[in-house]
């Protein structure tokens, strides 16, 4: 699961669609061949601001879906929350505009060989990569349940065609504007038990992933999560997006979420570190 994504390449990609969906923008890029290498969990890194921009770093987005259309060229779809200057610039670009894009980057969700019962949990636009994942899982004969949560209804990303790929969809909002009032973690234990869940796949803010991991650990369910750490480069050279992960050899290392993640085994992350270097980490002094 770990290591450099050898399929990554850099392309100039045209925006072929840019639609506002609730609080987000659904954007589609013509990326050519590389679409066929994109797997659920992988991400893209896009240069923002244009040639003379003062924003020197790329912005990373989880891949929502990828379509390999043979000689017609592939498409990559992402969901963008315009909350910073870079993401706002991107969502303001029109169809036909070309961006510098690198994909697919990072690790992908591990797909079981057996037809097992999977629960997909997304927070906010963290739901994006889960729809592509659910299609893959369904094609493998897995039962797929989904829980999506956000602070408010506008921030739930759940397109109609996405919903078709899941057996059940539960929505939670903290303000109660749609679905169940509360957090995703309020409904998880019940769903895990009722549907006899074997594996949880999650994507969203770190606090949510930590809470999901605790439930997964208590109930003995495997948990794969896509972590969210601030990145400067997205390709493994800047060492800023690190988090403490315990390897199979028992050693804790500060690993890059762009290369050794974003998808990691939830039980391997030292969640208690709260962004500090845990005691005993390899090379800690």
């Amino acid at each position: 699961m770990m290591g450099i994504n050898k399929n990554a390449s850099q392309v100039i990609a045209e925006i072929v669609s840019n639609k506002k969906v609730g609080a987000y923008h659904h954007m589609v890029f013509a990326v050519g061949e590389l679409a066929k290498f994109a797997k659920p969990g992988n991400f893209v890194a896009i240069a923002v601001g244009g040639e003379s921009s003062s924003m020197v770093l790329r912005r990373a987005f989880a891949i929502y879906r990828a379509f390999d259309r043979g000689t017609n060229g592939g498409l990559l779809e992402i969901v963008v929350a315009p909350h910073g200057a870079g993401s706002t610039w991107l969502t303001n670009q029109s169809v036909g505009f070309k961006v510098d894009l690198i994909a697919p980057l990072g690790t992908a969700f591990g797909i079981p060989t057996e037809p097992i019962r999977a629960l997909l949990v997304g927070g906010g636009y963290g739901s994006a990569p889960l729809f592509g994942l659910s299609e893959v899982l369904k094609n493998r004969g897995c039962r797929v349940d989904m829980v999506l949560g956000a602070s408010t209804a506008m921030k739930i990303y759940a397109p109609l065609d996405g919903k078709r790929s899941v057996s059940s969809l539960t929505i939670t909002t903290e303000d109660g504007t749609t679905g169940i009032t509360g957090k995703v973690t309020d409904v998880l234990p019940g769903i895990i038990e009722t549907n006899q869940i074997d594996i949880i796949y999650s994507c969203g803010p770190m606090g949510m992933l930590e809470a999901i991991n605790q439930i997964a650990a208590e109930l003995g369910v495997v948990h794969q999560c896509a972590v969210e750490e601030a990145m400067a480069c997205g390709i493994g050279v800047c060492m800023t997006c690190v988090l403490p992960i315990r390897g199979e050899d028992g050693e804790i290392r500060m690993l890059r979420s762009c290369i050794d993640g974003p998808v990691v085994d939830g039980s391997s992350v030292i969640w208690s570190s709260k962004r500090q270097i845990p005691e005993g980490t390899w090379g800690a002094n």
């Binding site: 020197v56 400067a232 480069c233 050279v237 800023t240 988090l243 290369i259 090379g283």
Partner: protein, 311 residues
């Protein structure tokens, strides 16, 4: 035929565009985007004696035309580095400049001894100016005496003719004074400049944004500081070769550092925004030099220092 060759100390390079230390990973991360032999040299991340976890997160903040980083020299330590990274770079046929960093003068001496017999290294960058250490007193390049001691330790232990490039910080009253000191101590060339110490405060939490509080500022925002430092040092020490770095994002920017006195140019932060930036910059630089009427890179080095001639 345009001559792009350059040299630092006794080491010759096919072209003057290098990566910057700490901005090219182990080399493998960039190798999937271009052939490393395209580079004048790969400058490795500054390696220390022992494995190092680096600092807590957040380690990074984007700033106008730049970024602040506080990595804290995360790395595998010299032994694992020599066992894994160097053989791999050698296999690629890349020219290698190894960057080293120590916590004490003794560290620099031991690092130099471990590197003296290693095959396939073109030069040694001695990083005595990393800003991301716990104690500012550990920034050797901030004081003439400590700068001298670190470079002397490397000189005494390196043997042979492996060029020593001393990497300096502009965060001093007189960079020329430090440059003269390290050259007297045995540095063959100078790397100018390391990042500039800075801070960002998050106005939501109302605390410093980086876990390490301060960080090193890099990117185009610091380019004028780099140009100034290179110009001053080249003026004082015209025979000492300079590896210039600081916010180079285009061939035009690289030319600016060369005109100030750099014989080669490292590209760092631009790689974070664009993994193929080094290749783009190399091509643009050659075009700029030709467009300005130079037949070789060497003719352009320090050209901004020429005396006015009234005809």
């Amino acid at each position: 035929m345009f001559n792009f060759r350059t040299s630092l100390g006794q080491a010759e390079f096919e072209n003057p565009i290098f990566t910057a230390s700490g901005c090219a990973g182990s080399g493998k991360e960039l190798a999937q985007f271009f052939d490393l032999t395209e580079l004048g040299a790969v400058v490795t991340k500054s390696i220390m004696l022992k494995a190092r976890s680096g600092r807590a997160t957040p380690r990074m903040a984007e700033t106008p035309s730049g970024m602040l980083n506080s990595i804290g020299l995360q790395g595998p330590g010299i032994d694992l580095f020599l066992e894994k990274d160097i053989p791999w770079l050698r296999e690629q046929g890349a020219r290698i400049v190894v960057s080293i960093a120590g916590e004490s003068v003794e560290d620099y001496a031991i690092l130099a001894r471990k590197l003296r017999a290693v095959q396939g290294i073109s030069a040694l960058e001695v990083n005595i100016s990393c800003p991301n250490v716990e104690n500012r007193g550990q920034v050797f390049a901030c004081q003439p005496a400590t700068a001298r001691a670190a470079i002397e330790a490397v000189r005494r232990n390196i043997g042979g003719d492996l060029p020593i490039i001393a990497k300096l910080t502009p965060d001093v009253t007189s960079i020329v004074e430090i440059a003269e000191e390290v050259v007297a101590a045995g540095a063959d060339a100078l790397a100018l400049i390391n990042t500039v110490l800075g801070m960002v405060i998050d106005i939501n939490t109302m605390r410093p944004k980086l876990a390490g509080k301060t960080g090193g500022l890099s990117g185009p925002a610091i380019r004028p500081i780099a140009v100034r430092a290179i110009y001053q040092v080249h003026e004082a020490l015209p025979n000492v070769k300079i590896l210039g770095m600081g916010g180079v994002a285009s061939g035009r920017d690289a030319l600016e550092l060369i005109l100030a006195g750099a014989s080669a140019v490292s590209v760092g932060t631009a790689t974070f925004g664009n993994p193929t930036a080094v290749i783009k910059i190399k091509e643009e630089l050659q075009n700029e030099l030709i467009a300005h009427g130079f037949d070789s890179l060497r003719e352009a080095v320090g050209y901004a220092h020429r005396k006015e001639v009234n005809l």
